[in-house]
């Protein structure tokens, strides 16, 4: 709790600095920074329509960020969110296709459980390889991303291909009735709620339960954790499972709420952006929510920037890159600025 002030000050300071850099960048394009920032705000949070746009993009980010944030608490840097999302989505699609005629309640539940479960196992493999065989988890999870994407492409153009989808090869549909519906008459589907709920639940688990405390001890000093008799292997594997399952859920929602069938939209980069959201949030599940909204908002405003200021769609990527780099660099200031330190630690 003592560090909260420091985290707030440095995060806001970093955001301010990145806004300055973005202003400089906008100047070089010959636009007025004020107007561009205004459009950025309007496109992201200015109206209910833009909020919907933002929320739809933020939901998968929240879930894939957990895939990095949760294993990070036990000291593993996992970057396999993209692969876990693909595995979750693919499993969900196969489940949906196989259970076509069952009641939709059962189909949706089965898709969630199997999709999340398989993706969880996918990341458990990473944790197990690290724990039992000392295989670098960052690299193995990166490799698994590519393997998952290859399997997806293989199935999507192969056995599971719906011949009706020519331009964008996809699997057969899971059926209209089995899809997660939108909230009211908005384009925001109930899937967003899962992102929020899972982030809150994981925050509770990590901050308020014995398991969360044990995970932090394991991440802080694995030898100390062993000495006090914590079941280190279980804690590591369970953290990986939860992270993988969260990213898998992002895939399930992509299938069940948006696409209705599995295709290349599963590996559109949410997994990689999620890694950064996790780092920006300093692996705190609660802080993931605002950062995911910020990122989703910037992405959502891309269309408006293009229309109103003739800025290419890559502008959004430049803004994101600047924010990421500045906030990540602000890490180096933690513990360095004297007046932000809790009094008891300064002698």
């Amino acid at each position: 709790m003592l560090k909260t002030v420091e985290i707030w000050c440095l995060s806001l300071g970093a955001l301010l600095l990145s806004m300055l850099l973005i202003t400089a960048f906008i100047f070089t394009t010959g636009n007025s920074p004020g107007e561009v920032f205004h459009s950025l705000y309007r496109g992201a949070f200015g109206s209910w329509f833009s909020w919907q746009n933002t929320l739809v993009r933020a939901a998968p980010l929240m879930l894939t960020a957990l895939c990095t944030a949760l294993p990070a608490r036990v000291g593993l840097i996992v970057i396999g969110g993209e692969g876990a999302m693909v595995v979750g989505g693919l499993t969900a699609a196969m489940t949906g296709i196989a259970l076509q005629s069952a009641p939709s309640f059962i189909v949706i539940s089965a898709m969630m459980i199997l999709g999340g479960g398989c993706a969880g196992l996918w990341i458990i493999a990473v944790g197990a390889l690290r724990h039992y065989r000392n295989v670098n988890e960052t690299i193995s999870s990166l490799l698994l991303n590519y393997i998952a994407i290859a399997v997806l492409n293989f199935l999507v153009v192969g056995v599971l291909k719906d011949p009706a989808t020519l331009n964008n090869p996809s699997t057969y549909s899971i059926g209209e009735k089995n899809m997660i519906t939108s909230i009211g008459d908005s384009s925001v589907h109930w899937g967003l709620l899962y992102g929020l709920v899972v982030c809150l639940a994981m925050w509770f688990v990590m901050r308020r339960t014995t398991f969360g405390f044990a995970a932090d001890v394991t991440g802080g000093n694995i030898r100390a954790a062993r000495l006090v008799g914590l079941p280190v292997a279980k804690i590591v594997l369970l953290s990986c499972f939860l992270g993988g399952a969260a990213a898998g859920l992002a895939g399930v929602i992509e299938i069940a709420a948006i696409q209705g069938r599995a295709n290349s939209s599963l590996n559109a980069g949410y997994g990689y952006a999620g890694i950064l959201v996790a780092f920006l949030a300093r692996h705190n599940p609660l802080a993931i929510i605002p950062y995911a909204l910020l990122l989703g908002g910037i992405q959502a405003s891309g269309g408006l920037l293009q229309r109103a200021h003739d800025l290419p769609d890559a502008t959004v990527a430049v803004f994101q890159g600047i924010i990421f780099i500045v906030i990540l660099s602000s890490e180096m200031l933690y513990g360095r600025i004297k007046f932000l330190q809790p009094k008891s630690l300064i002698s």
């Binding site: 490799l143 698994l144 290859a150 990689y272």
Partner: protein, 305 residues
Amino acid sequence: MESDIGLWSVLIAVLGGAIRVGTPFIFVSLGECLTEKAGRINLGLEGNLIMGAMTGYAVSYLSGSPWLGVLAAGCSGCVLGILHALLCQNKQVNDIAVGIAMMLFATGIAFFYGKAFIQPSAPRLPSLGFGSWASSPVIKAALDINVLFFLGVALAPAMAWFLRTTRWGNAVRVVGESSDAALSLGMNINRVRLLSTMAGGGLAGIGGSYLSLYYPGSWSEGLSSGQGLMAVALVIFARWNPMNCLYASLLFGGAAALGPALQSVGVNWGYYLFNATPYVLTLVIMIAASSAKGAVPGMPGEFVK
């Protein structure tokens, strides 16, 4: 007889592909190898690659000289490498996260400024036609080899020699093996890592210019298919050995060419599964080479901690 010709054309296509597709891999993997030898992982080389491709193409178009483009691509990669190294100098800043952030940033910048260069066609790098004696167009195409390939082939033993015998090369290895040992020897760890990351980034930039100036040979936003990220896997596959990086790059290139080659003779099944071969292979090797106690042999000591 029919299948005989099919087999030969597949083999030649794979060999030609190994050279053509593998060349950018050689540069990126040697760059990543040098960076990792100094004890740091740069996941952002994908960004260097794309930035290099854009810069190389733009400079080649504006100046009319593709070689000037290659030089500019190398410089742009160096700048990105320096940025990565400076950001990671502090222990609290995670090099993996910075790498991914740099990848996004560099890709964004490249796409932003590259918009203007999607249409015009820039002068491309020349190639040496070793296949002019052959009558078969397949062999001719396979033996049309770019100069950068030979540069890459020469670079691998040069880097191996540099790391093994020179004073600077030893400094890189010490810093990568144990920063404590390097400190006690009075080395400036940050400077060694800065220079290694810079040089590594520059090599990746040159690899990028190959993409836009030779094969596939024009600038577009879908130019790179993740070669920069793959390089990280490739270096592990090569056990942090520059010569192995060269062989592994050719192997990865060949593997990437296998799918299309099989497709051209009518084997369609499993095209996408073949794409996964390099990754599965790397993973299997990592698992086989690791043990409950130690890390993968050849891994710089700084990664084991």
